[in-house]
Structures are given as C-alpha cells and as structure tokens.
Symmetry: C2
C-alpha cells in the first residue's frame, strides 16, 4: 500500500461557491497560486454551472484560462452537464467531475431532476468527457445521509458508483456532503468501493459537521483510500444542504495524514499562508481543528 | 465483540483539578449527581493527592463520603501512593487508580521521582489496593509523546504496562496526556495491549489538542477497546503538561460511539445539562466538537 496521499483542494470551488460577497477572478487566482505554492497536487478550480444558479462561479471560463501553469498540479472543474463540459473543454480543462446525489429529493432540490434523470445526465457527461480524452471523476453526494431523506442505503450508493464506472469514470468520490457519516459506515461503504474498483479509483470527501471527519479519513485510509477532498481552513459547505457545515480543513488532513506516517508533499507553513489569503477573501476567521495547536507552535 | 462501551467520566477530577477558582464540595457533588442522572456508568470522583500540590482536591475525603449512592455507578479516585490509598480506603472507595508517566522527565517534573521510583510506588500502591480487595487501575501517562522528551518508545510503554499487570492491576489505561497521538500509533500500541491482556483490561484516555481524539477512539474501538475516559464538555487537561489541551469531551465520544452503532447507556440530553452545570462551576463556555451540531438540533 502506497504511503503517498493525494490532497485535492476544493476551497476555490466548494469553499467559495456559497459566499455571498462576489470574489473577483484575480482574488481567486491569488488563492489558487498559494495552493500551488504549498505543493497541493490537485486543485478543484471552479464549476461550470449556470451563472444564474451560482453567480460566484460565473467567471469559470476566464479563471480556467488564467490558471497558474504547473506541471505538478492536476486542475479539475465541476461540470453538471454537457453544456458545462463543453465550456470546460473550451477553457482547456483536462479533468472534470460530475456530481450525482444519491437521493431523489436531493437531486430535485438541487438541480430539479429526479435520481434517474440525474444519473443519465452524469453518465452522458462522463462518457463525452472520456471521448474528449479528459479525465472524468464522479461524485456520489449525500452518500451516507441526505438532509431530506435521512440515511441512504449503501446498496443504492454502490449501484450509482457502478453506473458511473460503467459510464467510464476514472474515479469515484464518495461524498459525505452534510458531515453525517461515521467511520463504521465509511469502513463498510468505502471499503466495498475499494474492493470493487481498487484504491486508485476511489477517493473521499468529508465534512466536519460533527467533528467526525478525521475519524472518517482514518477509516478510509485503513480501507486503502489515498486521495481526499479538503478545503482550505474548512471553508465552505453545501449551499443546498440545510445544517451542513464546512468541509474538512486541508491543514487538518495534511497534519493528520503526515502524523500518521503517510506523506502529502504539502508544505504546512505555506498552507497557513493560503488560510490567511482565504480569510481575507471571505472576511471571516477560518481554520480547522488543528488551528489552535498550529498557532501554539509559531 | 461486545457493542457496549463504558464511558468513564473524569470531569470532576481531571477536569476540575487545574481550575484556579476553588469549587466547593457541594458544587462538585451537584456535577457528579448530574453525571449519575445522565447514566454515566463510571465516574472518577477525585484524587487523594497532597492538598498542597493540588488544593482543588483537598476535599477528597469529604467528597467521597458524600457521593450519591447508586448501584449502577463505579466510582474511582486517583491515589498517587500508599498514603493516598489509605485515605481513599478510609473514605470508602472501592476502586483506585495510579498514574505512571512513561518518561523520567515527566515523573520528575510531576512528582519529583524518576521513572524507576515512580514505577515502584505505583506497583506498591496497586498491590496494596488488591490486598484491600479494591479494584486497581493503572494509567500509563504520556504513553505516546512526552512534552519534555518527545516521542515515547512503544516498547517502554509496554514494559510499564507489564509491570502494572504484574503488580495486580485490573485495568491498564493508555493515556495520551497531551493529545499528540495519531491512530496509527494507537492501533499499534493499544492493539498490542489488547492482544496481551484482553480488551476487558485495557482502556484509553485521549486529549483533543489536535482534533485527533475521535480518530483515536475509532482506532481503539477497532482494536477491541470498549472503555474510554472522557470529560464533560472537554473540561480540563494536564496542569503539568505544557501545551496540553482539554480531554476529549464526553458528549463527543457518546455521540460518536452511538452513531458508530455501539451503545453507551448515556442520555445525551441529560449529559448536556451536566455540561451546563460544569460551565457554571468553572465560569466559562465548554463543549466538544459536536456542540454546534447538538445545539442546531434543539
């Protein structure tokens, strides 16, 4: 089992998308440049959604055309459908992600489609991305609990994973969108995904609503997962999910993973500079569970 | 493997001992009564240490004589030596605990003895407690990292565990006194203790300094451990350990363990009343990682 863990920084997209204040493209690029400087190997840059639905992401095309060049970083963008995919392709993106919520209600509230329709659109988008020679990831969101429907049956999540793999997804991201998962569930569900598709094709996305995120990261590591979504300073959440709190903080996962004896290649000091930039952009204090301890070592 | 987890509430001792303001015995009993009402099955009530060293615990004898009677609760008290043991016995305690720090420097700074001397005193105290027909627990403190000596070698900790078991200890408590452990270390060290002595004789004590405590609880559960020290609202820490932050909060562990499908028998609503009492006693806001989420459900 490899000791290298890939951190996929989602702060510039998942973190910023629900900020009320508009953040301009230069500011976003400043943040992304700080991510690159900190050695983050994967960065979710933006989302090619309707500017009406998510005004904060209206600059996706411009942003992608100006991303800092680096041979070491894999940039990605969310593309909810073929229209988004075409925009991402035109902007030069080499990796896209679709988001498939695991319940009817979440899909209806989020994108006004039922689960079957959403599955079809995600499959189609992944298939076309692969035809274009892009890397395609598929999120299965609310994979443990849905804010509207409650507990989500694992067999349904596994069916959706299978549909995405069949469509050609290079990677499945199991997402605990509202931070309701516990490590017993993670062990079962993420473990089964790893058994079916191999650790290389499975990553995990946790929120820290109940303070369980690092325990879920550990359960995922034990299951063989070596890639995690994280957000700088714990920025963000899900704008459509009531009660959702922030993503697990990048600095928490980097510190945790490194102390567990694995490696991320991320510079924790430079990461803290990125936290400060993010704080300035959103005008509020940020920071994960490790902040106080990290500050005590200054 | 049993699904029942025993929570040992240490807030009345470990939580209160480093509070500057003196808390009177009636107030302590109010807190302990709230613990009993919440269904906590094990309560560390006090410490029979020198009143000069820890003035907050000077009322240990009176407190123990007035503990609320309950057939369901196992009370315990720390006894650093034979003198403390005699006091605990006279006060009617049926369970005592010794604390053996795993490094020379921690022992010297804490109780002005080196590791060998401290081991001898702890062994003698445990042996005598067993002669008196009491239950005897042995903490191995700073079992992962010492604030003075850094990383603590696992083989030394295991030697100290062996010494305590040889002396007659009914239970070994592996204590991450400064909150520096990660679940990879916990898996190795706690796992080895369980292999040697059985899960029934091993418990764990975590601090949440870096936000890793619940991940460490999960690693311990996976290793078979079914008993944890916790402190109401995360109250307390180690007065002698620089940089140490609070104990893992009782409500965090109860919520976490229950959501993982295990049972504690603790009433989370009544537990929150105990948090409020503790907040009043110490004059500051308390609460673990789950506080915000718990409040959002009121």
């Amino acid at each position: 089992m490899t000791q290298a863990v890939i951190i996929n920084e989602v702060g510039a997209r998942d973190g910023l998308q629900n900020q009320h204040a508009r953040i301009d493209v230069d500011a976003k690029l400043e943040l992304i440049t700080a991510f690159v400087a900190a050695g983050l190997p994967a960065i979710e840059a933006t989302s090619f959604v309707s500017p009406k639905a998510v005004p904060q992401m209206a600059d996706a095309d411009v942003l992608c055309s100006r991303l800092p060049a680096s041979g070491k970083v894999q940039y990605s963008a969310l593309t909810p459908n073929l229209r988004g995919l075409e925009r991402a392709r035109a902007a030069g993106m080499r990796e896209i992600a679709v988001v498939l919520s695991a319940t009817d209600t979440m899909n209806l509230r989020n994108i006004n489609m039922d689960l079957a329709a959403s599955t079809a659109v995600c499959s189609e988008t992944i298939r076309m991305a692969k035809e274009y020679g892009m890397r395609g990831k598929a999120y299965v969101a609310v994979a443990f609990e849905c804010p509207y429907e409650g507990q989500v049956p694992a067999p349904r999540v596994l069916e959706l994973c299978e549909a995405m793999i069949t469509a050609g997804a290079d990677e499945i991201v199991i997402a605990d969108t509202i931070g309701a998962a516990n490590p017993a569930q993670v062990k079962t569900l993420v473990g089964e995904c790893v058994r079916r598709y191999g650790a290389q094709r499975v990553s995990a996305h946790f929120h820290d609503t109940r303070g369980f995120a690092l325990a879920n990261v550990w359960a995922s590591l034990e299951a063989g997962v070596r890639k995690f979504d994280t957000s700088i300073g714990g920025l963000g959440g899900c704008p459509f999910a009531p009660g959702a709190a922030g993503n697990v903080a990048t600095e928490d996962v980097v510190l945790f993973v490194e102390q567990c004896g694995l490696t991320t290649g991320v510079d924790i000091v430079k990461l803290r500079l990125a936290v400060k930039i993010a704080e300035r952009l959103v005008g509020q204090a940020l920071g994960g569970r490790t902040s106080r301890w990290l500050r005590s070592r200054d």
